[in-house]
């Protein structure tokens, strides 16, 4: 399977930034500092379970 990481990153950015472009940038920088660079993931990127688990946790925590 492929593309789930990009989908999750997009969902996380959207969840946290709520359409605010400045916040979108901040969320992306936070992801890069965690070692998840959004520009490295496309709809064809393989579904790495470790990255998926990390993103799931991030979405869960920001409630």
């Amino acid at each position: 399977m492929a593309g789930k990481i990009k989908e999750m990153i997009d969902a996380l950015v959207s969840q946290r930034a709520q359409g605010n472009s400045v916040l979108e940038g901040v969320v992306k920088i936070k992801l890069i500092l965690k070692g998840i660079d959004p520009k490295n993931y496309s709809p064809d990127s393989p579904d790495d379970p470790a990255i998926i688990a990390k993103l799931e946790e991030l979405m869960r925590e920001f409630k």
């Binding site: 920088i29 936070k30 500092l33 965690k34 070692g35 660079d37 991030l58």
Partner: protein
């Protein structure tokens, strides 16, 4: 004025605190942030500042040099006081053991402000972090804060005048090591942030292919020993590479904006940094520019944006301060802040969004 600054170069702690108290005698602060030279006894300064201002929350840290309106200082005590017109609401908390994860501070913020951290509006609230500058845990703490909230935390790692023995953070009468002080403020005025690092990105990229993040070491760039790859990128030898560390650090560059990672020393074939980096991250080689010019440009931009500036807290990297000292530019740097009530200190690391190096992060109030 709703934000006031004071400083003292008196060597006796009691006299220095009294000096600050006298300068603020016609002012009723609700919150005071202070920065004290490492020559000032930590427990005593925390205790005396709290006792001197019993109606205010007091917090601060030890430094590697202080900054106050128009001046860079050493062996001094500097303070910024906010009254109730400046700050509507605030809460200071301590993470008193950085070896374990604790939600206690976040829970306290949520109770105090009566809303979840995730729902706090970053335009309404701001966070300040002061952290033990020798703990080596700034990345993790900033990472976890960022997981829970969109509120921007800005701050610095406490210093000890380059002795590298013990750095301290202070909150409400107590001094702590291996700790961080977190404050959330709800100002009554507009605020913004400056992150200025006086570096421009070069074309050369280095991909981190092997790293030990907890030790802040990069073992390999582009599958080559890190020291060799860095030297090759600069067209120099491994032996001469450390001479370039100050002027050619590396950075994570996002939309042209570098988040600097400064090399500290070569360790075998690896490079030890002042900041951790994850594997898989692309770093860009940077080149130093003029600290005075770029800081002035950043201040001018913010003054144009806000119209007026009522206070600045400046967290300025000690490596920048050392460069300013080496070039005889500390007076020129201080003078950039002559028109604004300012306090700050020379830090062992800077925080904004994450943990960064060779940067000045500033909190600016309109």
């Amino acid at each position: 004025m709703n934000i006031r600054t004071a400083y003292s170069v008196k060597t006796d702690i009691q006299e220095a605190v009294q000096d600050i108290q006298t300068q603020l005698s016609d002012f009723e602060p609700r919150l005071i942030i202070f920065f004290a030279s490492s020559s000032i006894a930590p427990d005593e300064i925390a205790d005396r500042m709290e006792a001197a201002f019993p109606r205010a929350e007091t917090f601060g840290c030890s430094t590697a040099g202080e900054i106050v309106t128009g001046k860079m200082l050493t062996d001094s005590l500097v303070a910024m006081a906010f009254n109730r017109q400046a700050i509507k609401n605030s809460k200071v908390e301590v993470l008193d053991d950085l070896n374990r994860e604790s939600h206690r501070a976040f829970n306290a913020f949520e109770r105090h402000f009566d809303k979840p951290m995730s729902k706090m509006d970053p335009k309404q609230y701001l966070g300040i972090i002061l952290i033990d500058g020798l703990c080596g845990k700034e990345e993790r703490i900033m990472d976890r804060i960022g997981d829970f909230t969109n509120v921007n935390f800005i701050g610095g790692s406490a210093g000890d005048d380059l002795k590298f023995q013990s750095t301290h953070v202070y909150a409400n009468g107590k001094s702590y090591t291996n700790a961080a002080v977190l404050a959330i403020l709800e100002p009554n005025t507009e605020f913004t942030f400056i992150k200025t690092q006086s570096f421009s990105p070069l074309q050369k990229k280095l991909l981190v292919t092997k790293a030990d993040e907890t030790k802040r070491e990069i073992l390999e760039f582009d599958q080559k020993p890190a020291a060799l790859a860095y030297a090759e990128a600069l067209g120099t030898s491994i032996e001469d590479a450390p001479k370039h560390f100050m002027h050619n650090p590396v950075g994570i560059v996002y939309e042209g904006e570098p988040f600097v990672r400064s090399p500290q020393r070569i360790k075998g074939n690896s490079i030890k940094f002042y900041c951790g980096v994850k594997e898989g991250i692309e770093l860009t080689l940077l080149e130093s520019t003029d600290i005075i010019a770029s800081t002035k440009e950043a201040l001018d931009r913010v003054r144009a944006e806000l119209g007026d500036i009522s206070g600045i807290i400046n967290f300025n990297c000690i490596l920048r301060t050392l460069e300013l000292r080496e070039k005889g530019l500390t007076e020129s740097y201080g003078a950039l802040f002559s028109d604004f009530p300012t306090v700050g200190f020379s830090t062992y690391g800077e925080q904004f969004i994450g943990h960064i190096n060779q940067t000045a992060t500033m909190l600016v109030f309109r």
